[in-house]
Amino acid sequence: MSEVLQLLLSGLSQGCVYGLIALGFVMVYKATEMLNFAQGELMMVGAFVAFTVINLMGLPFVFGVPLTLVAMVAFGMGLERGVLRPMIGEPPFAVLMLTIGLGFVLRAVAGAIWGNEPRTLDVPFAGDVVNLGRIVLGVENLVVIAGTAVLCIALWLFFRYSRIGVAMQAASQNQLAAYYSGVPVKRITSLVWGISAAISATAGMLVAPIALIDPNMGLVGIKAFAAAIVGGFGSLPGAIVGGLVIGVAEQFAGRYLPAGAGEVSAFAILLIMLFVRPEGIFASLQQKKV
């Protein structure tokens, strides 16, 4: 019983990380129809930025986190402005390849700046545990889940109530119509990239105490894309749910199935899903009109 709970907890916390990356990925797709395969690398950069401000510059955790988020919003917007905006109007495949290339570049640059040895982020709660009778839960895992929940609520409030959030939704449904109704589509697109980078960075900071920070940590992005599709591509809650499904499945497959099954379970779930219910858990329809 205790083991099942442990697995569930670490699965959920890992799933939150996948879910957050998937969330950033889906947000960008909805707003721009661009597939950002460098989303995992944005998480990696975010984690390194946090490492720099907290570990190297010695800022307290509570200041370091917001500073990282601001830096990553700027970074995301910069990427959009510098690299992706010239690609508007190019075929989706070109953009996809571009982001794959971008991911490689970010990894090499991160390796050049921070080196390839794994790093740990100093967090106030490192190694703490909560004892619930015979069940021992790592605080780090709980923080990931709590952090994700808080972020999701904040995002929901933002999209629901803030002017800019509503404008973003409008732009993601119909760019042209939004443009005609006075929504500054270009600025919105930039901002979507910024927010999506910050969400990924949050995932990076949340996972950093559990996993280590290194230039290749962004490779989990691949599983996040699977999560996005399992959840129903185009659905924001779906991204999180898909992440949780994959995170939990991975833990259980890793424990009870032959070695290596955990690693590959995300992809197996994805393929099964594509055969059984290709529209994902939360379907969101799209179709071209003639």
Binding site: V83, G89, M97, I100, F104
Partner: protein, 358 residues
């Protein structure tokens, strides 16, 4: 500038449309045939590898460049071709029988992967093929009795006419022959109804369908043919490598193949060859650059992949038509001098095409 006077319908159908082309290709053929006697043995081997890349590249080009379907998992087909060929050789199946079986098997798996692709657009397909590649890798790693698992397996090296296949020059001509046949096969497809159906699906599914193109069958065919070519390259690669291990076929291999088709020039068979030369010789160029560059830059871990990525980004932003596109522009500049106008080659952009229905 050259104007070709067409007097027969058959002329448009031919591979080479006028005598000038025939001359230049014949000259290129001679150079390529003579190369093993001129260049160093090391380079003979490297060129054979370039040919193998090109054969695999034909496969991906047909899929991505002509049918408009993305695959991030072509390393899997490369691996299936290589492993199935090596396993068959291990059971004593002769080379000339084993290769077609391996190719057919890979094409069959390709068709299977194509089936979910029928219902999927870009993103789904990209991620699904990626997932497929990971699962194939997992299967290979865990099929120890057949594949040697993580340890890998040795490949039997047969002999022809008393020469072992590992003989550099023999292997060079073998790969060259397969490449030339492969290029002709691909060209034949593209100048016949099957290839036109591919392109129709790429440019507009809806009107392809209204012209009688069976979308499902066309996409499955494209996947099968594409996988078949890449599997064929895999069978040759098995001999080049001599020893197969799972770490030779990773996501990185898939990405290198994509780099090949993008940098070479999407939607052109010339691009496949240009791209193969590029991908084949880039590691060497980087190795040279590492020695020249100061250690601080030259010794960056992951430099090679970073450079790959940077080149990809630069091409996509500045020359999306790839090396072949650049070559056409240079040729046009000479042909039309001094009347060349940049606007002739201005890119066309298409804006968000999907109108979402909620």
């Amino acid at each position: 500038m050259r104007f070709v006077l067409t007097t027969r319908y058959g002329q448009d159908v031919d591979v080479f449309r006028h005598g000038g082309e025939r001359f230049w290709y014949a000259l290129l053929g001679l150079v390529v045939l003579a190369a093993p006697w001129v260049v160093s043995p090391y380079n003979v081997g490297e060129l054979a590898l370039v040919f193998i890349w090109a054969i695999a590249g034909i496969g991906l080009m047909l899929l991505v460049g002509y049918t408009g379907l993305v695959s991030l998992g072509h390393a899997a087909f490369f691996a299936i071709g290589a492993y199935s060929h090596a396993i068959l050789l291990g059971y004593g199946v002769p080379f000339v029988v084993s290769v077609p079986i391996a190719v057919a098997l890979t094409a069959g798996v390709g068709a299977l992967v194509g089936i979910p692709a029928l219902r999927m657009t870009g993103v789904y397909l990209a991620v699904a093929t990626l997932a497929f590649e990971r699962i194939v890798a997992f299967t290979i790693e865990h099929s120890d009795p057949l594949t040697g698992g993580l340890r890998g397996m040795a490949v039997e090296q047969p002999s022809f006419f008393g020469l072992s296949i590992v003989n550099d020059q023999l292997f060079y001509y073998l790969c060259l022959g397969v490449l030339v046949v492969g290029l002709f096969g691909a060209k034949n497809l593209l100048r016949s109804p099957t290839g036109r159906a591919f392109v129709a699906v790429r440019d507009s599914e809806i009107s392809a369908e209204s012209m009688g193109v069976h979308l499902a069958r066309t996409k499955t065919t494209a996947f099968a043919v594409s996988a078949g070519f890449t599997g064929l390259a895999g069978t040759l690669f098995a001999h080049k490598a001599g020893y197969l291990a799972p770490d030779a076929f990773t996501v990185q291999t898939s990405i290198q193949l994509l780099l090949l088709v993008v940098v070479g020039g999407l939607g052109s068979l010339h691009g496949v060859v240009f791209g193969a030369i590029f991908v084949g010789y880039l590691p060497q160029a980087l190795a040279v650059a590492r020695d020249v560059l100061p250690a601080a830059i030259g010794q960056i871990p992951g430099l090679e992949l970073g450079v790959f990525g940077a080149i990809l980004v630069l091409f996509l932003v500045f020359e999306p038509l790839g090396i072949y596109g650049r070559w056409l522009k240079i040729r046009a500049w000479f042909d039309e001098f001094p009347l060349y106008r940049r606007a002739t080659h201005k890119r066309q952009k298409s804006y968000l095409r999907t109108e979402r229905v909620h």
